[in-house]
Symmetry: C2
Subunit: 217 residues, 2 copies
């Protein structure tokens, strides 16, 4: 299987890259410079018509939507344990439910905090304040789920990395994450995961190749 991940350091492609690192598979990475809106150029739209990262090329066929890619990787590389399985059909749907929560609720709320100017040509302050309120409401659920444990209990999963990434970026946008000690503790544990460390190193290498500076890892 020939794999290429289209990514940008610090974007949610970090979660996808961590998943790839956890599988141990060989893959190429291709930095798409979202600082210069490369993701919206005709050249990149020929790769991904949606004009976003991440995207994963699999033997020349493109796959989009971070959560769908994560489910695909989990199916292809079950030994990596990216997501828990269950023979009970209700329990078995839980990881998908959680990925959807990350992508369709937490991510938009975080985006209102981190990039409120992407929601309005007017004053972004109110949009950001609303994002803070929404994200705080969800953080209560996150804190309950990671209090002294991984999201699914005993073993880390890619949902832990996704939640970490979301909270980390919200904090960079000014969200008071220290109000949630359980999440801060969880973040410290996620940072130590070897696949995430390898992804961060690969992000750095990509940024250096393009001489991109000032990216927060």
């Amino acid at each position: 299987m020939d794999l290429t991940l289209y990514f940008f350091p610090g974007a949610c492609s970090r979660v996808t890259m961590t998943a790839l690192e956890a599988t141990g598979v060989t893959y190429r990475d291709q930095l798409v410079n979202v600082r210069t809106d490369e993701q919206k150029t005709p050249g990149y739209r020929r790769v991904n018509p949606k004009g976003k990262v991440p995207a994963l090329a699999i033997d020349g066929r493109i796959m989009t939507e971070n959560a769908a890619i994560l489910v695909f990787l989990d199916r292809q590389f079950p030994q990596a344990g990216l997501l828990p399985r269950s023979t009970d059909p209700v329990t078995d749907i839980a990881p998908l439910t959680d990925l959807l929560w990350c992508s369709s609720t937490l991510h938009p709320a975080m985006r209102q905090i981190r990039a409120p100017d992407k929601y309005t040509a007017g004053d972004p302050a109110d949009v950001m304040a609303d994002g803070m309120r929404k994200f705080a409401a969800e953080c209560t659920l996150i804190a309950d789920g990671v209090d002294g444990r991984w999201w699914y209990g005993d073993r880390w999963s890619i949902v832990d990395v996704y939640l970490f990434w979301l909270c980390n970026v919200a904090e960079k946008g000014g969200f008071p994450l220290s109000d949630y000690p359980a999440i801060v503790d969880h973040a410290a544990r996620v940072r130590q995961l070897a696949p995430l460390q390898r992804a961060l190193e690969r992000e750095r290498a990509g940024a250096e190749r393009l001489a991109l500076t000032g990216i927060q890892y």
Copy 2:
């Protein structure tokens, strides 16, 4: 299997209800009055801590996130053909990719159009304008995919209903859907689907029980 769908007429629970109708399964429905913020009350949060509809109770266990519920129903009732299957793993992930696109990209953009006041305590006009721009960009992809066909070609799927619902609500918010004749034609075909018709009838019955008026079907 004992099933109860928590819904509100016109909300995205319409897609879930249409899926349930397509399966032919017997289920109860429970109207949650989002007009009075019933979804945020302690009583409903005991059902669904996320405070949203739809939610599906399965033998007393709650399932959330519309797209996850749709995948669950497809797995439980494959004869309904809610989503296409494939033995090719890349093709097989496509319906999940599309559901994620609906829930994490189209739905937030539509919400900026239909309920811009949910994004800011300030002037919502700029938020709505930004939603219009974002939704229009995605409509090009939708129009390409439903031009004289169903989203997956020969047979309708629940993704067609989801796309219909998103475009329909955006139009109610003032989005110029008539700029996309292929989508208007597709909407007319979706409206004729028997499971959607039964869902609409059930929404009406629920609204009448609560004497809710002025709901647009």
